[in-house]
C-alpha cells in the first residue's frame, strides 16, 4: 500500500477551485517531486495530503499511523517567541539526546543548538527544519521548497542528503519545487501541476513531453536538453 494517495481530489479555497481531479500516490523509498509555476496549487496539495485543508471532492488516504516529517515553505517565528534550535528540535515531542546529536551532525548544524532560530542563516534554518522533520523517524518526508536560501553547492548537498536518508531509512519523499534543474536529477518521479496534473513520469520522460513545455515555456528547452549531461559549473539564467 502507498504511504499516501489521493484520488479525484478537488480542493477549493474561498470558493475558488485551486486543485482539480488530482490522483497520485507516494510509495516507500521513492522520491517524488511536484513541479509547477507559482500559484499552481503545490503547497495546497501538500497541505491537503497532510489533512490541513479539506478536500471538497475526492479522497485522500494515508497509511495507518503514518508518521510525516514536514518542512513547511515558510516558517515565520514571531519575534516575541524565544526559540533555540535545540528547543525547536524538541517540537512536538522531546527527542532522545543521542539521536538529536546524530541528526544535527547529519544535516550539518553542529554547534548551533544554543542559537536562536531567528539568528540562523537561510541555509542553516532550512537544515534545522529538515533535522526536526527527521527526528520523528518519518515514513514520509514532505518538503515544501526545502532548498530556499541555499546556494547551488548547498542545494546539491541537500538533495544528496535527502537521497541518502531515503536509502538508509526507506522513507518516501514528496517535495515541492519550482526549480526545474537540480530537482529533476534528484527525483524518481516528477509530477507537473497546474491546478490539475499536466504530466508525470520519470524526469527524462517528462522533460520531453509537450505538456511540460507548455507549462514552463520554450525557455526551458535549452536547459532541459542539457539535463542528462549536466555537470558542475553549468549555469542557466533561469536559476
Amino acid at each position: 500500500m502507498s504511504l499516501v494517495s489521493a484520488s479525484g481530489l478537488q480542493v477549493a479555497l474561498g470558493g475558488r477551485v485551486v486543485l482539480e481531479d488530482i490522483s497520485l500516490h507516494v510509495d516507500a523509498g521513492e522520491i517524488v517531486t511536484l513541479l509547477g509555476p507559482n500559484g499552481s496549487g503545490k503547497t495546497t496539495l501538500l497541505r491537503a495530503l497532510l489533512g490541513a485543508v479539506h478536500a471538497t471532492d475526492g479522497t485522500v488516504e494515508r497509511k495507518t499511523d503514518l508518521v510525516v516529517g514536514y518542512v513547511p515553505q515558510r516558517l515565520a517565528i514571531d519575534p516575541t517567541l524565544p526559540l533555540t534550535v535545540a528547543r525547536f528540535l524538541d517540537l512536538p515531542e522531546r527527542a532522545d539526546r543521542a539521536r538529536k546529536g546524530a541528526v544535527v551532525a547529519r544535516v550539518g548544524i553542529e554547534g548551533l543548538e544554543r542559537r536562536a532560530m531567528t539568528e540562523l542563516s537561510g541555509g542553516q534554518f532550512q537544515r534545522a527544519l529538515l533535522a526536526r522533520a527527521l527526528l520523528s523517524e518519518p515514513h514520509l518526508l514532505m518538503l515544501d521548497e526545502p532548498t530556499q536560501g541555499l546556494d547551488q553547492a548547498g542545494e546539491a548537498a541537500f538533495y544528496e542528503l535527502i537521497d541518502e536518508v531515503r536509502h538508509e531509512t526507506g522513507c518516501g519523499v514528496l517535495m515541492v519545487s519550482h526549480d526545474l534543474h537540480v530537482v529533476m536529477r534528484a527525483s524518481d518521479r516528477v509530477i507537473c501541476l497546474n491546478r490539475r496534473i499536466c504530466c508525470e513520469g520519470a524526469p527524462a520522460q517528462v522533460a520531453s513531453m509537450p505538456a511540460y513545455h507548455a507549462l514552463f515555456g520554450r525557455g526551458t528547452e535549452g536547459a532541459l536538453a542539457l539535463y542528462p549531461h549536466r555537470h558542475h559549473g553549468v549555469r542557466e539564467g533561469a536559476a
Binding site: R47, L50, G51, A52, V68, G69, Y70, P72, L75, I77, D78, T80, L81, P82, L83, T84, R87, D90, L91, P92, E93, R94, R114, A116, S136, M142
Partner: protein, 264 residues
C-alpha cells in the same frame, strides 16, 4: 490566616498571576492581545446577565467570554480585518454590558469593582474559585504545553505532528475565558488584558526559550500583584490600577535594561 483580608488579597493576586502569566505568553506569541481584550470586556456583559438571571458571576462571565470567542472565530476572515472586528466586538460588549447593568439598580454600586477590580474584598469563596480556576488553567498548559507551542509556531507543522491546531486554539480560548472570570475580582474587566500581556512582554528580553519566558512572566506577575497591593495600601490608591502600574514599571525597567545590554 485566611481571616486577614490582606492575606486573602495576596493569595488571590498570586493565584491569578500563576494562570495569567503563562497563558499571556501564548496571547503574545499568537498576537491575540486584542482578542484577550475583547474577551475581558465581554465580562461586563457576562456580569450583567449573571446578575439578571441570578446565576453565579463566574458562570456568566465564562459563558459570555466563550460566546465572544466563538463570534470572533466565526466572523474572522470575512469582510473585516481582525483588529477592526475585535474593536467593534470588544467595545460593543462593554457598552451592552454597561447598558444592561443600568437595568439592575441594585448592582450599580458594584460597577467600579467589576471594571477595575476589588481585590481587598476577596472572600474565602472567591479565593476558592480563583485558585480552582488557576489550577485548571495551569494544568491545561502543563499537559499540553508542547502541543500548544507547536500549534502556535505553525499550524501545518502541528498537523504533520498529529496536533490539531484548532483544538489547541479552542483550549487556549477556554483558558482565556477562565482567566478572565477569575481575574475580574482582582483587576477588573478593563485591566485584565494587561495582566496577560505585560508580564510576558517584560519577560521576553531575558528568555532564550519559551519555558524560561513563561517562568519569568509568572515571577513578574507575582511581583506586580503583591507589590501593587502593598503600594496601594501605602499610598491609598485603587488596587487594580496600582497592580497594573507596577507591572508597567517592571516592563519599562526590563525594556530599558535590554536596550542597555544591546548598546554595550
Amino acid at each position: 490566616m485566611l481571616d486577614d483580608f490582606l492575606v486573602r488579597a495576596t493569595l488571590a493576586g498570586i493565584g491569578v498571576a500563576l494562570a495569567a502569566a503563562p497563558l499571556g505568553c501564548f496571547v503574545v506569541w499568537r498576537r491575540m492581545a486584542y482578542f484577550g481584550d475583547a474577551t475581558a470586556h465581554a465580562a461586563i456583559l457576562g456580569v450583567a446577565l449573571a446578575l439578571a438571571f441570578q446565576v453565579s458571576v463566574f458562570a456568566g462571565v465564562m459563558i459570555v467570554s466563550l460566546l465572544m470567542a466563538a463570534t470572533v472565530a466565526l466572523l474572522s476572515g470575512r469582510s473585516f480585518a481582525m483588529d477592526t472586528l475585535l474593536g467593534v466586538l470588544a467595545h460593543s460588549a462593554l457598552a451592552f454590558g454597561l447598558v444592561a447593568m443600568s437595568f439592575l439598580p441594585n448592582v450599580r454600586m458594584d460597577l467600579m469593582g467589576y471594571l477595575f477590580g476589588d481585590i481587598l474584598a476577596v472572600g474565602r469563596q472567591d479565593l476558592l474559585v480563583i485558585w480552582a480556576g488557576a489550577a485548571v488553567v495551569v494544568g491545561l498548559l502543563w499537559l499540553r504545553w508542547s502541543r500548544l507551542l507547536t500549534a502556535t509556531l505553525n499550524p501545518d507543522l502541528a498537523f504533520a505532528g498529529g496536533v490539531h491546531p484548532r483544538t489547541e486554539q479552542f483550549l487556549l480560548t477556554v483558558g482565556l475565558a477562565i482567566v478572565v472570570a477569575v481575574a475580574l475580582k482582582v483587576v477588573g474587566a478593563l485591566l485584565i488584558a494587561s495582566l496577560l500581556i505585560i508580564p510576558a512582554a517584560t519577560a521576553r528580553p531575558f528568555a532564550r526559550d519559551p519555558e524560561t519566558m513563561a517562568a519569568l512572566a509568572v515571577l513578574v506577575a507575582i511581583i506586580a500583584t503583591t507589590g501593587g497591593l502593598q503600594a496601594a495600601l501605602m499610598f491609598d490608591t485603587p488596587t487594580g490600577p496600582t497592580i497594573v502600574a507596577v507591572a508597567a514599571i517592571l516592563f519599562a525597567m526590563s525594556t530599558t535594561a535590554a536596550a542597555c545590554r544591546r548598546a554595550l
